[in-house]
Amino acid sequence: MYKKVPRMTKTMRVFHWINVFSVLTAVITGLYIANPYYQALIAEPAAHKYVMAYNRFFHFIAALLLDIVSVAVAYLYFRSTFDKPIKKLIPNRENLIEFKEVLLNLLTLNRRKNFDSSHSDSFNVVWFTILHLLLVWMLFTGFYLYVQGLESGLSSIGKWWPALLHIVTDWVGWLLGGQAGVRWWHHFSMWIILSWVVFHIYYQVWRTIFWKEGDIAIVFGGYKFKKVK
């Protein structure tokens, strides 16, 4: 007999798919911005086509969505009424043991399973937190690069915007060695995020196959199944 356990609320699932869409868009357009890998091939004068400009536009939109979702997710970490991930992050005895057990389950190829898999476990929460930290890192490096285009100190929404960005991001340039360094790191971090994504997808599929609890369904329907004896 299987029991249906709720794992993701509708909001969480919407956030997840916004993130997927945004990361994908940001990667596709970001690679183009870094080194344009296709040619415009439109026989119009430059004034009529906006290939690079649109790439940059969508890159910024993706970044904006990611940032807004990040703020919301950060809030939910602490204040969610459904499941506060922060509880699983506190390095207390219980969480450390759970983390170890889930990791061992993965490493022993599901030979050992000494934890309750019906709720979000601490290994998974740590893994998601890494992504959110990476996204925050992208936010800082990205806005550092972005504000360099607003060096007149003006923007369509007022002077406060570039000023705020300077205050918040100028330290990044100091840390990473100016414009070129920040560009390098911003680009490099994309590869780290992609590696993250690859493992994330693999792990969810692996769990679905070996745990036999329908984990992959969580992100679509919000439920997984738990065997009840």
Partner: protein, 414 residues
């Protein structure tokens, strides 16, 4: 705690950003005008550093520069300094009192390119004239004196104008291999020389990429430990005028600003004057429309190159290089790198030789990754290596899981 001191916090939150206030309000300019006027009157009252030299008008006629050309230059300079047109008479006057300011110009590790850029124009330019008219008390390349005489000139100038002269430094300063640069019969290393002369200077003006950030001598592996002036000089205001070579317009601009106001211009976080280094090359580039349109030169001499497409894919670093060459250009506005069809190499930015001058976009450049010393690779190669490693790990895990799973089900069946 130190951290919570008010001025500490203020300093932290009022970091010099790139905000350029091109219009500071009528009140501000009225005050500035009055102050500049007073200062110019005072300077006019001072004796020229060398009294028997030619007068400004004589210079102009000797150099065959028409009054009209001079006023064209005055308008250009006023605009460069981001001052309203009402300041033009003052700028013209300032040019005439240039010879009241003593200047000492020294060369450390460099190719003399900035001096060359100044004096090698086909026809005499006003910038050149101004620099000739300026009382340069010591300039190794240009002065007639040599040997002991030259050294004496320097000592005399330092003693006579203590605390008044502007010190121009051209070239980077070796700090690791100090003896890589020594001059004179009473040898002095570059560090000693710059420090000694800077001590009595009103301000130090670092001319060119080398003097500003170490430039080419500081490129990897930087054998002499070359650094810029601001890294060895303390207690004296430093202005950087980077670029390779520095644009004469910007050099004269800084002097002009000093003569007009008695102060140095507003600087950005890398100590570069904002009037010149406030905007990116990219913002005023004539090829910008092609950038936005995604029209790039793919290889030298292709159809795109013939149509003046954007040079981003050929390694143009305009999008993150701050300088005004796209506006004032070089050699009296004749042309500039992107105008002749090659990308910007970011010569006014720190580390330009290692990170900017690669002739391909940063993402495709072989630059040393920050953490991996000694490896030269593109960022995509480093990233792909990490991604591949992840994929291999996953592959191994997947295959062993599959095998283990099969065994298990066999066992169960038994």
């Amino acid at each position: 705690m130190d951290f919570f001191r008010r001025d500490y916090l203020r300093e932290m939150f009022t970091k010099p950003t790139n905000l350029i206030d091109t219009n500071k309000g009528e009140e501000y300019y009225r005050n500035l005008y009055r102050k500049a006027k007073e200062r110019l009157d005072w300077l006019k009252f001072q004796k020229p550093v060398r009294e028997n030299d030619l007068k400004f008008e004589e210079y102009i006629s000797n150099w065959d520069i028409s009054r009209r050309d001079f006023f064209k230059w005055v308008s250009m300079m006023t605009a460069t300094l981001m001052l309203p047109p009402s300041f033009e008479p003052l700028v013209a006057e300032a040019a005439e009192v240039m010879n009241r300011i003593p200047v000492i110009w020294i060369n450390i590790q460099d190719c003399d390119g900035n001096t060359e850029a100044l004096i090698r124009s086909s026809a005499p330019t006003v910038d050149e004239l101004i620099l000739d008219y300026l009382s340069i008390e010591y300039q190794e390349t240009l002065m007639a004196a040599a040997g002991d005489q030259a050294e004496k000139c320097l000592e005399d100038a330092v003693n006579k104008y203590k605390g008044q002269y502007l010190l121009f430094v051209e070239g980077s300063i070796p700090v690791k291999m100090e003896y890589a640069f020594t001059t004179g019969r009473h040898p002095e290393t570059g560090v000693q020389r710059v420090r000694r002369l800077a001590k009595d200077a009103k301000a130090v003006i670092a001319v060119g990429a080398c003097a500003s950030f170490g430039g080419v001598p500081a490129a990897y592996p930087n054998p002499t430990g070359a650094v810029g002036v601001m890294d060895v000089v303390n207690g004296v205001p430093v202005v950087n005028i980077p670029a390779c070579p520095a644009n004469p317009v910007n050099i004269v601009g800084v002097i002009m600003h000093y003569i007009l106001t008695g102060n140095l211009p507003e600087l950005d976080s890398l100590k570069r004057p904002k009037f010149a280094f406030g905007y990116r090359i990219h913002d005023n580039c004539e090829r910008r429309a092609h950038f936005d349109a995604g029209e790039f030169v793919e290889e030298w001499g292709d159809e795109g190159a013939k149509n003046n497409f954007c040079l981003y894919k050929m390694g143009c670093k305009g999008p993150f290089t701050f300088n005004n060459c796209s506006i004032v250009r070089y050699n009296d506005g004749t042309n500039w790198p992107i105008g002749v069809g090659r990308g910007c190499i970011g010569c006014s930015e720190p580390d330009f030789w290692d990170k900017y001058a690669t002739e391909r976009p940063l993402a495709a450049s072989n630059i040393r990754p920050p953490a991996l010393k000694g490896v030269e690779s593109t960022v995509d190669k480093v990233g792909l290596t990490i991604l591949t490693a992840t994929a291999i790990g996953i592959g191994i895990h997947a295959i062993s899981s599959a095998i283990a799973g099969k065994k298990e089900s066999l066992n169960k069946e038994e």
